[in-house]
């Protein structure tokens, strides 16, 4: 009975294409509203990188024509209502969550913010300063893993609208004035590129009001620049970012792929990717080879699309639909030479830690899967896992709504439901054909945040395809089975098509 009702409720999710609206009425204590604009950091003007994200951030951190920021803080305090913005490459989403007891009261504030934001000078200066310190300092110091991802995208998408971080560049942010924010809002947050989403326990009259209000947004036709072609790199292009006394080497790789959620080959690649490196899962191949069998790091995963805040979330969030994806490998920090030398006297002569070997291990395995594919049993198990696991993406009203709205970006009705059907119909042949077609190890970008002393020797090791034997401490070495050493022997000489290695200081990143 309950399942029938579930299906019934899912059917209620409707879309009126005249005005893009996703409605998801359900039993809940709260109401979630998402207002998504198809713009994103790709809409940032050249020389003002970061403008779209800053515009959205200032909106949520400032007042409206009727309330100052402080007045809003006072009003929503007893409701514990919350709202935030999220910008990615091609979309900006404002999310508002409120308990159903306060829907009308809160809507009054919310609608004035969306329709008539004040972008007060003082708030603008404050938010801009926070964005600047993030790009200049925080991203470079707080997490080597996030840094490696942002640095990689800068290279992989160079020359296109995807290249700069959504937070902006140092010069771009410096160039942005309050007037830029006001004008950008008028031009790129309009009734012509907006989608509305509502989930939770709300009356129909609320949706009618919301639709009518959103229709009051400017009638401008936003001029979103085209992405441009993302070129496949020539060979393996490596960027090393050295930091003093770094215990770990954080590694991230990527090469462009031509598919997205709506592509025919997507379900097959979901299986390939999950088998190779499902996010934060211990049963995928790279994790088992690098972490579980060899104890080299905390985890190893692959991706066929961007995974927002992967260090924080175990299940995917929403709001980052992209028309251009890349195949990525995320190797979490492995030990650098200084770290290993400080622990084990037997490794005293080491110049390069585990980074080169870990990369070879990952590429060797991807090469194997490209050539051999999955077995029937591996395919069945991975498909079974995904068909159950993907349903967990939409446990809360907010996630359910977000996934439905992202579906529309790709021209789909319901990504999660459609994948379940497509996975059910999938064959092993399709999966292995996709693996052969989209996996490759010859051309890619690699970014490694590493120790200052290691950058030079690692550069040489990569450029000359130097043998990189795995250096275990004595205590680990005596615990490993023979099969580990047998594979290591092959992997340590696995040829990598490295064409170029550059060393860039953190201070040289995200400048313009």
């Amino acid at each position: 009975m309950k399942k029938l009702i579930y299906i019934f409720l899912a059917l209620l999710s409707t879309t009126a294409f005249a005005q893009n609206v996703v409605e998801l009425p359900m039993e809940s204590t709260k109401v979630v509203v998402k207002i998504a604009f198809k713009n994103g950091s790709i809409a940032d003007p050249v020389g003002k990188e970061g403008l779209t994200n800053l515009t959205a951030s200032v909106l949520t951190e400032s007042g409206s024509d009727r309330y100052t920021k402080s007045e809003i803080d006072d009003l929503i305090y007893p409701m514990a209502a919350r709202y935030w913005s999220f910008t990615d490459k091609e979309m900006t989403t404002f999310t508002f969550e409120v308990h159903k007891d306060f829907l009308d009261k809160f809507y009054d504030i919310f609608s004035s913010l969306i329709l008539n934001p004040s972008f007060a000078e003082n708030d603008f200066n404050r938010v801009k300063s926070n964005a600047e310190v993030y790009v200049k300092e925080v991203i470079k110091a707080n997490s080597d893993e996030e840094l490696s991802k942002m640095a990689l995208e800068e290279k992989l998408f160079a020359g296109t609208g995807y290249a700069h971080m959504k937070n902006g560049t140092i010069k771009g942010l410096a160039n942005i004035s309050r007037e830029d924010v006001v004008n950008h809002y008028k031009s790129f947050f309009t009734k012509n590129n907006v989608m509305i989403g509502v989930a939770g326990d709300y009356p129909e009259s609320f949706v009618a009001k919301l639709k009518a209000d959103i229709n009051k947004l400017p009638d401008t036709q936003p001029n979103i620049p085209k992405l441009g072609e993302v070129a496949m790199p020539d060979g393996i292009q490596v960027e090393l970012v050295p930091k003093p006394n770094n215990l770990g080497a954080a590694i991230y790789t990527g090469y462009p792929i031509s598919i997205n959620r709506a592509s025919d080959d997507w379900p097959a690649m979901l299986v390939v990717n999950s088998y190779l490196g499902e996010h934060r899962k211990s049963y995928s191949k790279l994790y088992q080879l690098i972490r579980e069998k060899r104890s080299m790091n905390y985890g190893d995963y692959t991706y066929i699309e961007w995974y927002e805040s992967g260090g924080r979330y175990q299940l995917p969030t929403t709001g980052f639909p992209r028309s251009q994806n890349y195949m990525a490998i995320w190797i979490r920090p492995v030990q650098t030479a200084i770290s290993l030398k400080s622990q084990y006297p037997e490794l005293g002569d080491l110049k390069v830690g585990h980074a080169h070997f870990a990369l070879r291990m990952a590429l060797h395995e991807i090469d194997r899967v490209k050539k051999e594919g999955l077995t029937k049993e591996e395919f069945d198990l991975t498909r079974q896992f995904l068909r159950s696991y993907m349903k967990l993406y939409i446990q809360t009203p907010e996630r359910q709504l977000g996934f439905l709205m992202d579906s529309k970006f790709y021209g789909m009705d319901d990504y999660i439901a459609e994948m379940d059907k497509k996975l059910e119909a999938l064959t092993l042949e399709q999966v292995n054909a996709a693996a052969a077609k989209y996996l490759q190890t010859d051309n890619m970008w690699i970014t490694i945040i590493t120790d200052k002393e290691e950058a030079g020797p690692l550069k040489e090791s990569l450029l000359t395809n130097k043998k990189s034997p795995m250096t275990y401490s004595n205590i680990i070495k005596e615990s490993l089975p023979a099969e580990v050493f047998e594979l290591d022997k092959k992997v340590e000489v696995y040829p990598m098509n490295v064409k170029n290695v550059i060393i860039e200081e953190p201070s040289e990143l995200f400048i313009e």
Binding site: D123, S295, R332, S388
Partner: protein, 460 residues
């Protein structure tokens, strides 16, 4: 209009469909809106069921009331966390490879994490797989078996975890703050543990067997299932799979932290990073009988929220502070209650400290506005109500009270305590806890420690 009617119809159907699930006399009393059904097995294992309308979905949690707080032996910091990793290394029935495959077949979001006071194992997935979840989990909780070789290899993964976290100045600040504020109690080390102990982990195989023997026992554990389930089903599975689990005998004395007698300073030097000032006062152990922690929660929410005068002054108007907040974690033993400020310029550190001091001192002598107090209670209540909208978020919320007091139903008492807080309570609690001799000041800046000391003009 069509949707509206359909929504009403669906809601009515849902109510009808759910009502038989609710056992009589188990209606919730208090903030938690669902029935909390508890059964204690003969071996002492507490089994908690919370039926919740999530068609086809259930969360299965095991809370072990042992974490880094229980690491009382020298050289063993980080062991509870390390042991959480070892728990994935297989049993006689399921080798680690078979365990991985079985877990993958369930298709659940499954993982574990360790905290000061507890270790938490969680799975959220298809409610029809509940039997398999019980089978897998009971097997490793009762029959964990791993080789010394596997044990040694797992230690490297913990090192990898430390390495990824250690890059952040915030992680370094947390580590040094607790190390400075606590001299005897085990809260002096974070859950991750000290680096030298992590490096030594591969040599601790014998100790790991002892650790399992001590804490992975029914009297330390609670099984919690939330979602599309019935109590009878959960209890039957618990008896079937955990009924034979033998009680242990281990008890321990956690060292008591002596009263702090002086202000202490902890500092992390970081170039090219926003300066940070935190004031950390000793706070009380969590208790539903003693409302001091509830009062401190109210102070943290009220006095430094975006609504507060200090926030408006330092963050919005003067723009000297980028972020400001305050609060303490609910802990089994006395912990720290902190005010945290991320600054724009390190030169403002003394000024910002002075402003925070003024707020804390005013709380001691001037009654807070009664309307703001009422609104703060409302804020806390609605924050909670909005946060429990899936089986896993509900299970997470209840698990906190399981590890704190052993009783998930204490969530209702804990939230009822907020309602009781008066203006007088706030003055009393502020006087009791915001004391210089119980303060650890922790900072991040590009300066050496001595310069910070001078700048803040603090006597240490």
């Amino acid at each position: 209009m069509k949707n509206y009617l359909a929504a009403i119809a669906a809601t009515l159907l849902l109510v009808t469909a759910c009502s038989p699930d609710k056992p009589e006399n188990k209606e919730p009393e208090g903030i938690f809106p669902y029935p909390i059904q508890q059964t204690k097995l003969d071996n002492g294992l507490n089994v908690v069921t919370v039926p919740y309308n999530s068609p086809g979905l259930a969360s299965f949690f095991i809370v072990v009331r042992a974490g880094s707080r229980n690491e009382i032996e020298e050289g063993k910091t980080g062991f509870a966390h390390f042991f959480e990793h070892v728990m994935f290394r297989g049993t006689e029935k399921f080798s680690k490879e078979q365990y991985s495959e079985a877990l993958k077949a369930i298709g659940a979001a499954a993982n574990a994490n360790t905290w000061w006071d507890r270790t938490l194992y969680h799975m959220t997935g298809n409610a029809n797989m509940l039997d398999k979840m019980f089978e897998l989990e009971s097997d490793r909780f009762m029959n964990l078996k791993y080789s010394e070789e596997d044990f040694k290899v797992e230690a490297g993964a913990v090192k990898g975890e430390y390495t990824k976290n250690n890059a952040s100045p915030y992680s370094k600040l947390e580590e040094i703050t607790y190390k400075t504020a606590f001299t005897e109690h085990t809260y002096s080390h974070t859950t991750m543990g000290f680096w030298e102990d992590i490096v030594d982990m591969p040599n601790q195989y014998e100790y790991s067997l002892e650790f399992f023997n001590r804490f992975y026992r029914p009297e330390y554990a609670t099984v919690l299932v939330v979602g599309d389930v019935k109590q009878e089903e959960v209890n039957a599975l618990a008896k079937k799979y955990f009924g034979e689990w033998q009680r242990g005998t281990y008890t321990q004395q956690i060292p008591v932290e002596p009263e702090q007698q002086e202000t202490r300073l902890a500092h992390v030097k970081a170039e090219n990073f926003p300066p940070v000032l935190t004031l950390n006062y000793k706070d009380p152990a969590f208790s539903v009988e003693n409302t001091d922690m509830a009062v401190l929660d109210i102070i943290g929410t009220m006095a430094f929220s975006q609504k507060s005068d200090i926030y408006k002054k330092l963050v919005v108007d003067e723009r000297k502070v980028r972020q400001l907040g305050a609060g303490g974690m609910n802990m089994v033993d006395p912990g720290l209650w902190s005010v945290n400020a991320i600054l724009v310029n390190k030169e403002d550190m003394a000024y910002v400290k002075n402003e925070i001091d003024q707020v804390l001192n005013n709380l001691k002598t001037e009654p807070v506005d009664s309307v703001i107090l009422k609104e703060t209670k409302s804020n806390i209540k609605y924050s909670y109500a909005m946060g429990i909208d899936s089986p896993s978020s509900i299970a997470n919320s209840l698990s906190e009270f399981i590890w704190l007091t052993g009783n998930p139903a204490d969530v209702n008492k804990a939230y009822a305590n907020y309602d009781k807080v008066t203006q007088e309570d706030i003055m009393r609690v502020a006087k009791k806890y915001f004391v210089d001799n119980h303060l650890t000041i922790a900072t991040i800046s590009s300066d050496d420690e001595n310069q910070v000391k001078e700048e803040l003009n603090i006597k240490l």
